[in-house]
Symmetry: C2
DNA sequence: CTGTTAGCGCATTCAG
DNA sequence: CTGAATGCGCTAACAG
């Protein structure tokens, strides 16, 4: 009878035999070297490299009912805001030996639920998930998972376990106040893709405008969300809805429809870039005739002509801290603060500098340091 | 004696008992429903949902020595070129039930080798990996893996199994020829982060320039690659090296050092955007005084003022096709063509339209009225 | 510090 | 179409 061993990869038993020890000693030498005498350790290491032994993590997962996979769910892979978050997560990995299973929820709570269900079958070591709009079933699965769960990129009083993010509403509020203080009055809001967080930002904008007696619902630039492309099967993603092209279109339309506007607050830097190009194309002076502000503070905002005002959010850090929180809990540390507010900063640049204050300062220290 | 069962999740045996069948029938009903009578299937489905049974994929992986994990390795998560590829890969997943383990190689072949080693311990169903610059050991591991391996985003005569991409050298060549045909002569090349593919693009540029007797090595704008930040532990990624800020800096430097240049071919659209802003800041007319071309054709290129010429590459499709190729092989289909060239398109826009052929009317607009 | 025993939960034979 | 026996490769729990 032939042995069942379909693959002829060496197993831990082969290593044990070769090193003249038992399998469990090999297992220990690999996972907790300090618990094995250096003599045996040397023999085992030798056998491992001679045999080219590679542990089977699936078997390990089954035997120990633990894995080294951290599941990460984000609504988009192409919006830099999330790719930066994901990069922060990866940078937080370092040499932890953990691995990332990344899932794309496409801003759909239903799809997210399906993905979480699939992920649970893997028994992940931890879950990092964006936002707070999980379905009831998703939340239940996550609560039942008995592993660290960290929500990111938003805030709530009622996190599943822990949430690390910032207030979109306050950010929208403060930026709008900045625009009002700068002297702008008819401030449009460009929405792009209206997800829950966009709505919060708009809520802040609305509050600030109402406080100042300036709110006008007509000053909203957006596209319908009722687009069949957003359905699950879509391959288009929704990325076209927060594109520079759309920012340009929205601005051209707004200049046509409401030529009296004197500023636009864009829900997304990418839109604000398009708005700037529209102004350039129409000969509209920024910031004198129209002020422009974005959201996220991507790198191009500082490089634009004129440099564009934005809200710097700590997206990289959000991912990084989430990963560190996961690792801490995996090491047995307590959960700590359930709500971590990373804050944000209003970065004032020339595009909203109607009175030339920033420009005056910039005379002394040019924004771009050349080599 | 207590049962070992640490977790009290239901197992396939519990379902079997409840449904009055054997475990293997449950297993089959779940994986190949058509091989089980509809009567039993109903009973099993009932038991599954009553018990809330969720199969343990780690056990399945161990028993079948197969997994549903596709490992994907890319050099960066934040450059849109790769986030678009990754999105294509995800869009290709559809309902295949496959999962993605995504790894970030940070443009380091050594890190890539370590990551591949780690991934192999998971016995992935397939591997999708960017480029052709794997180390010898990486290649060996991949060849030994006995699973589908697809390389992407480049071409080579000697793929590990299959490669899907396009020729960076030809793209560089054809864009440079376009610039020369448009009447430009002193054409600078902005490199940004000089990886293997950037070098190929530059090779194409150089060839075209030499053919025309125009090559001048002094017309290169780049930053040193010998930056310690690029080392493995870096949290900065190299993203600053292909940023809009850097494009602006490179252009300002070049205008200073070689005021005679009449065009720049940027290795990356993001750089070209910065170059455009630099021209605007200095009052340099695009495309009349200086032509600008990029690489990738990101969405903002069409929205810029003036719209920017670029090379459209099929990055989304590259990811999508790679995923489809993987699925095909997993379904037992042959590998097919080992080298799949997806090509590229030169997208000519106003920024290189020196003679006003593309958009005569669009250039009527008055010069930018910005400070 | 090291070894023995006994599974982890499922899928692969091969029978019926 | 269904089932019984067996082991995938590793590690937990105890013992020595």
């Amino acid at each position: 009878m032939t042995k069942k061993r379909s693959s002829n990869r060496p197993t831990i038993a082969d290593v044990a035999e070769r090193a003249g020890v038992s399998a469990i000693t090999v297992s220990r030498a690999l996972r907790e070297p300090q618990k094995v005498s250096s003599e045996l350790r040397r023999a085992i290491d030798g056998a491992v490299s001679e045999l080219n032994y590679v542990p089977d993590l699936n078997a390990r997962a089954l035997a120990s009912s633990r894995t080294d996979v951290v599941a990460v769910l984000v609504p988009s892979l192409t919006q830099h805001i999330f790719s930066d978050v994901v990069r922060g997560i990866y940078d937080g990995l370092e040499d932890s030996g953990l691995r990332i299973e990344l899932a794309n929820t496409r801003y759909s709570a239903e799809l997210e639920e399906q993905l979480v269900f699939g992920i649970m079958r893997h028994r992940p070591a931890a879950v990092i998930i964006s936002g707070t709009e999980q379905t009831a079933r998703t939340r239940k699965m996550l609560e039942a998972a008995k592993c660290p769960v960290v929500q990111i990129m938003d805030l709530t009083d009622d996190p599943i376990q822990k949430i690390i993010g910032f207030s979109h509403e306050r950010a929208g509020l403060e930026m709008t106040r900045h625009l009002i203080e700068a002297g702008y009055r008819r401030i449009a809001f460009f929405a792009g893709w209206m997800n829950a967080r966009s709505l919060q930002r708009h809520g802040g904008y609305r509050q600030a405008m109402e406080e100042a007696g300036l709110y006008d619902p007509d000053l909203l630039g957006q596209r319908s969300n009722d687009n069949p492309e957003f359905s699950r099967g879509s391959r288009q993603d929704f990325h076209q809805f927060s594109s520079t092209v759309m920012g340009r279109e929205l601005m051209l339309e707004m200049l046509e429809r409401r030529p009296d506007i004197d500023a636009v607050f864009c829900n997304n830097d990418v839109l604000s870039l398009g708005a700037l190009f529209a102004c350039q194309a129409k000969g509209v002076a920024v910031p004198q005739q129209v002020g422009i502000a974005g959201f996220n503070d991507f790198d191009f905002m500082a490089a634009a002509e004129p440099p564009l005002t934005s809200i710097r959010i700590h997206r990289w850090r959000c991912g990084f801290e989430a990963m560190k929180a996961v690792q801490g809990q995996l090491n047995g540390e307590p959960v700590g603060e359930p709500v971590v507010d990373l804050g944000f900063e209003i970065i004032k640049r020339a595009s909203t500098d109607r009175n030339g204050e920033v420009a005056a300062a910039a005379q002394e220290a040019p924004p771009l340091a050349l080599s």
